[in-house]
Point group: none
């Protein structure tokens, strides 16, 4: 086993711990986690993991998991014979998806999609739109606008100097709001569940 592989063993335990506690443990707990008898061994290991891109220092100097920390190799699974699948998936530790989709929890809403006006953008009825509350949006963003006291999900476009709402379905008309266009937020993600 190479040094690199050994460190991955340690990393795996750290990932499991994080999945449980949602926080990186202190050095003292890391010692018993890893089976070390000294804190400096932990320190060196963490530094190695940082060099490999699994950990980072926060702006306050604390250890913080980096992006690679949440990745998982599919090959670690009992994959059928002869599978050299080296693809990485994003890992399914609890709360991975939340962290992936949501940057500002306090400003983020989930809004169920109704209708098929955005079907060509791959947004189906029943999907959940992840919407970040924000009054301004960029051209081309998919926005949640408020039209006739209802939420409407459309692409923000411009037509002759005025903002318009573009459906992604030729069967629907372009919405040309008179007066100001009220934007509730910007769609930053999509969640769909089958069955």
């Amino acid at each position: 086993m190479s040094e690199f592989e050994r460190d991955l063993e340690y990393l795996a335990r750290l990932q499991d711990y994080y999945a449980d506690e949602r926080c990186l443990p202190s050095y003292a707990r890391l010692m018993s986690l890893f089976g070390f008898a000294s804190k400096s061994a932990v320190s060196k290991l963490l530094t190695r993991l940082q060099l490999q891109g699994f950990l980072n220092r926060s702006s306050d100097g604390d250890w913080v998991p980096a992006d690679r920390f949440f990745e998982r190799t599919l090959s670690s699974e009992p994959v059928p014979a002869g599978m050299p699948v080296a693809a990485r998936d994003v890992g399914t530790d609890a709360f991975a998806i939340d962290q992936y989709l949501i940057n500002r929890p306090s400003h983020t809403h989930l809004i169920p999609v109704k209708g098929d006006s955005m079907i060509d953008a791959g947004i189906h009825s029943g999907d959940l739109a992840v919407v970040e509350r924000r009054a301004i949006a960029n051209l081309g963003d998919i926005v949640v606008a408020i039209v006739d006291d209802e939420f409407t999900l459309k692409t923000l476009g411009k037509e002759g100097g005025k903002f318009v709402l573009l459906p992604a379905n030729p069967a629907y008309p372009v919405i040309r709001p008179q007066g100001t266009l009220e934007i509730f937020g910007v769609m930053v993600g999509l969640v769909r569940k089958y069955r």
Copy 2:
């Protein structure tokens, strides 16, 4: 504003911090986060949030986010214009994305989608497929099959007594595997992130 709503304001800041740092801050940082001048104020606030089910103590006595901490507001219905829609307002439900999508964490993978062979099913390149590892699937399920040592995302169909893999894009051919069809898992969800 009630005491409860004020605490939710504090909670929102804590959630945003956690989204950035992936860890709860120390009392000292909480003080500046909340605008308190004393640590005991922080202590009392955290205790209140614990009573409301947003925080917990880990087995080691550290503060840890609880399930409610990760819930998002799910707007149920068309919301009237001019709604302030504060965090956890009336008419909104609490909701956690991970729990919504993932039933069996240890058997669930997130696999990046490549190509546009399923575009008519609203599955785009770059999306994340939520895949539950399982060897058997039902007709009509979207499955991850292993063809030529590569993952393939297709709808499971049947043609003359034999299983086939149906793309959702007329530009792609139906895959008719000779011999057995190797199924990696069943797609149970989809996650997409914009920008």
